[in-house]
Symmetry: C2
Subunit: 214 residues, 2 copies
């Protein structure tokens, strides 16, 4: 399920606060979901809560981490060391959660050899070698749109079956390869869409309010 990471984060926050046990109701509210949904999700992964009490926070953290595969560590390669690539490389939140930035790659010769986040940027041509020697299993693409498909194909051919794509294009990959897309412009556009609907709705709302008075 795509909701497990959200639960995990809420649980870790609770753990930091010293909470030992939590009810589905409270956890659901912290994670922003319905409590029945949360219980079904947890029961689905064979979890054990205690009726009348709730779930033991520590045990649940461990179970979810295991289910998500966070007990092993994953080597990540970032291709495209522009603003966003650099920001990701410097973001500390990954290391503590089982993800290790193993390599930074870029096509620009001027960028190659620079030291970013304690790693030397290497040239894109060594992608295959880096994937092999560092055991990379997750690829992150932060290149311009035009370069993204080529990088994705090389990742796939090198054996990387999990790709996180920040470039604004739809990647074409074979079955069995998992691509997730994060597109900042699209997020803003969706917000704008709802904002406009809200604005339109206000107008219509006033009319409706008027009608309701009759």
């Amino acid at each position: 399920m795509a909701r497990l990471p959200v639960y995990l984060r809420a649980l870790q926050a609770l753990q930091d606060r010293g909470t030992l046990t939590i009810s589905s109701e409270a956890l659901a509210s912290a994670a922003g979901v319905n409590s029945a949904k949360l219980r079904k999700d947890l029961s689905h992964l064979g979890s054990y809560g205690t009726r009348g009490v709730g779930y033991e926070v520590e045990y649940l953290v461990y179970q979810i981490s295991r289910e998500l595969g966070l007990t092993q560590d994953w080597a990540v390669a970032i291709v495209g060391i522009g603003n966003l690539g650099r920001a990701l490389a410097n973001y500390g939140g990954f290391g503590t959660r089982g993800f290790r930035i193993a390599a930074l790659l870029d096509a620009d010769p001027a960028m190659v050899g620079q030291n970013v986040a304690s790693l030397d940027v290497r040239h894109i041509d060594s992608l295959e070698e880096v994937v092999r020697t560092k055991g990379v299993s997750i690829g992150v693409i932060t290149t311009p749109a035009a370069a993204a498909q080529g990088v994705a194909t090389r990742f796939v051919e090198a054996g990387v079956a999990s790709i996180l794509n920040f470039a604004p294009v739809v990647l074409n990959v074979p079955d069995g390869v998992d691509v997730r897309k994060v597109d900042l412009s699209i997020e803003l556009q969706i917000l704008a869409f709802h904002a406009q609907r809200r604005a339109d709705g206000d107008g219509r709302g006033a009319e409706r309010a008027g009608l309701e008075l009759m």
Copy 2:
């Protein structure tokens, strides 16, 4: 619909290539969706295709832009000028799509006054004033998790009803306020989850293959 921005991008790429008209089948494949779904989405916004021909690219671009509210421009404020905030401020892709970065805010006095992406970073205390004077209607939060809720509340009280949150917390906001969340760790965790299932599945797949032979 959350898919309109994807269609729009595919259409703009087609427009750049000089394509005048396109069938639902071709556009659907470019956007990575089913053609019936695409037609239903487009018909839902009252769009006009021509049977036997397809859709006129330019007209469709205009219609979708209008529906998304991209014909007006939206002032965006970014709070939290760390790695990610800086990367977003410097990302050029927004301006061309109706979004204008109107202000950068940070709580760190050492950061205030610095020039980032041709804007002076201002102190978070002037949030309300900035929202008012610059007409900010979309807020972007790239602060640490602990600060995010406070910033969100101030945005809402200042009248900003659209928030894009990069901090790894669930924001609590009143009804009517629209929050979208982008969480990079969660994306990686979901990839890891599928990668692990793939790995487990390979093992089980072999066993199943064995059973199927009996």
